[in-house]
């Protein structure tokens, strides 16, 4: 059993402490917006926020997340509507298949929190998610759009 706080809500999950956070989120908490792509912290599809910092949830265990604020793609929007990154993604028609985009959006949201007006180089350094469909041009455009929103 583990107590996790996900998107401001507390969950008591029947899960071993060494379970990767990704699978606790997807299977035990039932939040499937966070995706499995590699399981070895390479692709970024599983990116969530841990106390506001972007982490690859396949690479950390449930026990490491206990007591921290976990935010998933489902918790990014507020009562006032979509997060500005989601909004920019909509307006720039970013996703192709979309499977990488939850992780991409979470990584970008964390970047903009720390660095509200990132340069192209900042983006290159911070955003290392894989997108097999190749949406990078729209991702970059949308990051700048969100930064200026």
């Amino acid at each position: 059993m583990a107590n996790l706080t996900i998107n401001g809500k507390s969950y008591t999950l029947d899960v071993e402490p060494d379970t990767p956070l990704l699978w606790a989120i997807r299977e035990n908490a039932g939040l499937t917006g966070t995706k499995y792509g590699c399981g070895i912290a390479q692709c970024g599809a599983c990116t969530v926020h841990l106390d506001g910092t972007a982490v690859r949830s396949c690479g950390i265990t449930v026990s490491e997340a206990v007591g921290k604020q976990i935010t998933t793609i489902e918790g990014l929007a507020s009562d006032n509507g979509l997060h500005k990154v989601q909004q920019a993604w909509l307006e720039n028609d970013v996703p192709q298949c979309g499977y990488c985009q939850s992780g991409m959006i979470m990584a970008v949201a964390a970047l903009l929190k720390d660095n509200p007006k990132p340069s192209d180089q900042d983006i290159n350094d911070a955003i290392t998610n894989i997108c097999r469909c190749g949406t990078f041009a729209q991702v970059r455009e949308a990051i700048h759009a969100a930064a200026n929103a």
Binding site: N28, T32, K35, C38, Q96, C97, G134
Partner: protein, 727 residues
């Protein structure tokens, strides 16, 4: 609100929906439109015809038979229907008919398969007619109600008007009446010059759920009481499962069952996928790997190299006498190239969810071929068509991989062991990387001959290697030979060579290693464009001529090929000096019915680090349905193609694929993305594909630019084998 409707997961509502479709639907393919009896969608709204459902609130539901995997054809196909329907685009939503419904209704929606860049081009005609027929019926219904001649009524934006009386109504109000009408026998399509929606870069219809995490992919399917499965198939294709020691994982948390499948694979079923995978990793398994375990990349390479020199070969394109002309050539150039296996590595690994009982089997999955998936369900379940169903979901990438149904079959076989319990099978990334349907491996020897005036008089290309059709569609072989291997090199058809050489011989020596080949985005143009376009560059250099001018001289009989090449040359500024330290390369090809070209600008650091600054791409696909999506497909194809060129390549050791995840089979990141400038020059009169053709020009354009920068030819993919990487 435009939103694709994902299939319902509640089984009862599906059954009700299917029952509502009812019997008596004797609609043949030749009259693919509605009949006198109203057919209703699951929510009770009337079908005007099979393609168009209109709800009382004026929402237009357009049925999409082809699969959406990111390529955008769901939106493009809806544009085609909506153009003729003259409906309000903002009220359009889409849904997939199911493969089971297609069978029950005598394939009223035609072909579901989505590959070969055919999604739009091979259904554009009948889906547009579907939209046009629905519009005619809606107008007729309004005219009938108003008792005015139908010719006096017009429709636009989902509103029908009768000018003389000033009457207006909406599609939603007359849909019930329209659905009862006999479909028109004669349907005339708009002249392309009158299109207002086709050709517009409208936004995709499936984006909203993709930015909130709400989009449900196959891997996200959750059904009541569902269990989860992880699987390991024999690492050596052709090998068998010998034994496994179930006792070793007995009592591991969550484990429900261990299932052997087809004598080659073993799956663990557990409460969660993580438990299933953990137990599977702990399960001792003994494989009987068989003879194929002796095969390696080196042994395959040697076998293919022999095929370059000897043994039978299939002639794919020939004119004049290339061998004689080469024998008498004043100057000869020769080179050998190769292209490796590649994994599709769709972002979402293979998966399917199945529930089986003795009288019903249903599957939820992403598939590029709903009908093939349906056939796999029938075969694996042993149940007849009326007792089976496949619910298609939006795919987390396809690229050709999800045209195969191996994962669907496995899911059904596992579910059969647990009757009544839904089971979701997800492949680990490792399983996905090592059990792919790989881009085929080939080598190619090219020889060119010149006369005393440096005119190219002969070209001989001999390709040795794997045939996809031999493995996947043997019925498409011609006398045992594979014509598809000449994609981009043929004398006629949708993938022709753009050069006229007086003496030409292009042949294929088929050698099929045990590794399963598959259709991998771009298919055979990936290697053929590298072979031909890099060698053209070699020939130009040998003749002391500019690569563009050299090509142009050979292309006068192929104006469409030439036009796209000229377009990129002009835009990149060929002929004017590039910026300091920047070098350029060109390539062109014809594939999937479209003419495409690319021009790259790169710089090279220390001979080993390549910065791709910019690629200008042009395409003539006949018609452009959605330029915004075409632009994205071009850029996306470059990411896929350049990832394969720089980082890809699957190697074989002890009969198995060595690369197991993105750490050993890497993919481009945003930092490596060049600026892509797309030029669309649709010349009309034909329909070409979009998703694939441009992938072929990225690699040769970059390789030719590398030669311009360094004077060195690279004839082997991937570049990581030569310690060359992105700067």
């Amino acid at each position: 609100m435009n939103q694709h409707v994902t299939p319902r997961l509640n089984r009862r509502s599906f059954v009700v929906g299917a029952a509502a479709l009812g019997g008596g639907l004797a609609l043949g393919l030749d009259i693919p439109f509605g009949g006198p009896q109203i057919v209703r969608a699951a929510d009770g709204s009337p079908e005007v015809n099979a393609w168009v459902v209109i709800r009382p609130d004026d929402t237009v539901v357009i049925r999409i038979a082809r699969s959406e995997m990111g390529q955008g054809s769901l939106t493009g196909l809806a544009q085609l229907v909506a153009e003729e329907l003259a409906c309000d685009w903002s009220k359009v939503t889409t849904e997939y008919p199911t493969p089971g419904q297609n069978v029950a209704r005598k394939r009223v929606w035609g072909d579901f398969s989505t590959g070969g860049s055919r999604g739009i081009r091979s259904s554009q005609d009948y889906v547009r007619k579907g939209g046009a027929a629905a519009r005619m019926m809606l107008i007729q219904a309004a005219a009938d109600e108003w008792k005015v001649p139908v010719a006096e009524c017009t429709a636009a934006n989902s509103v029908i008007s009768h000018k003389a009386s000033g009457k207006t109504t909406t599609y939603g109000k007359v849909a019930e009446a329209a659905a009862k009408l006999t479909p028109p026998a004669d349907v005339k399509l708009k002249d392309p010059k009158d299109w207002t929606l086709i050709g517009k870069g409208v936004k995709r219809l499936d984006t909203a759920d993709k930015v909130t995490g709400a989009m449900m992919y196959g891997a996200d399917v959750t059904l009541p009481n569902m269990l989860n499965a992880a699987i390991k198939d024999c690492p050596v294709t052709g090998g068998k499962l010998k034994s496994y020691d179930e006792a070793k994982i007995a009592g591991m948390k969550g484990v429900k069952k261990v299932v052997a499948i087809d004598g080659t694979a073993v799956a663990v079923v557990a409460d969660t996928w993580w438990h299933a995978k953990t137990a599977l990793d702990a399960l001792p398994i003994v494989w009987d790997e068989g003879e194929n375990a002796k095969v390696s990349s080196a042994s395959i390479g040697k076998w293919l190299a022999e095929g370059l020199e000897s043994g039978p070969a299939y002639v794919g394109n020939e004119n004049g006498d290339a061998k004689a002309a080469l024998a008498s050539a004043v100057k000869k150039v020769e080179a050998v190239y190769n292209y490796p296996y590649q994994n599709h590595a769709t972002m979402e690994p293979m998966n399917a969810t199945a529930v089986y009982t003795a009288d019903r089997c249903e599957v939820w999955c992403g598939t590029q071929n709903g009908e093939a998936a349906f056939a796999a369900v029938l075969e694996a379940s042993g149940l007849p068509a009326e007792k089976c169903e496949v619910h298609k979901l939006i795919l987390g990438g396809g690229f050709g991989r999800r045209g195969q149904t191996d994962y669907v079959r496995q899911a059904v076989k596992i579910a059969k062991e647990l009757p009544g319990t839904p089971v979701k099978l997800i492949w680990s990334r490792e399983e996905d990387m090592t059990h792919g349907r790989y881009h085929p491996i080939t080598q190619c020897k090219l020889t060119g001959g010149f006369d005393a005036d440096n005119n190219l008089t002969a070209l001989h290309m001999r390709i040795s290697g794997q045939s996809i059709l031999f493995s996947l569609r043997p019925e498409a072989l011609v006398n045992g030979k594979d014509p598809a291997t000449f994609q981009g090199l043929a004398s006629s058809g949708e993938a022709t060579i753009g050069y006229s050489v007086p003496n030409l011989l292009i042949e294929h020596s088929m050698r099929n290693p045990h590794i399963n080949p598959g259709f991998w985005r771009g298919v055979n143009v990936n290697q053929n464009a590298i072979y031909l376009e890099c060698f053209m560059d070699e020939l130009a250099a040998a003749a002391g001529q500019d690569p563009l001018e050299f090509r142009r001289k050979l292309m006068s009989k192929n104006p469409k090929h030439l036009a796209v090449l000229n377009a990129v040359a002009e835009k990149i500024g060929w002929g004017s000096a590039p910026p300091e330290g920047v070098y350029r390369g060109l390539a062109q090809l014809h594939g999937y019915g479209s003419y495409v070209a690319g021009a790259a600008e790169i710089s090279v650091i220390d001979g080993t680090k390549i910065k791709v600054h910019r690629i200008v791409a042009s395409t003539d696909p006949g018609y452009v349905v959605n330029p915004a999506q075409v632009e994205r497909q071009i850029a996306g194809s470059f990411v896929y193609g350049l990832s394969a060129l720089f980082y890809g390549g699957c190697t074989v050791r002890d009969g198995r694929i060595e690369q197991t995840n993105f750490d050993s089979y890497n993919s481009m990141r945003i930092a490596e993305m060049p600026k892509v400038e797309a030029i669309m020059v649709p010349s009309g009169g034909f329909w070409g594909g979009v998703g694939e053709p441009t992938i072929g020009v990225a690699a040769p354009a970059v390789l030719n630019a590398y030669f311009a920068a360094t004077g060195k030819r690279i004839r082997s993919v991937p570049l990581r084998d030569q310690n060359i990487t992105f700067a």
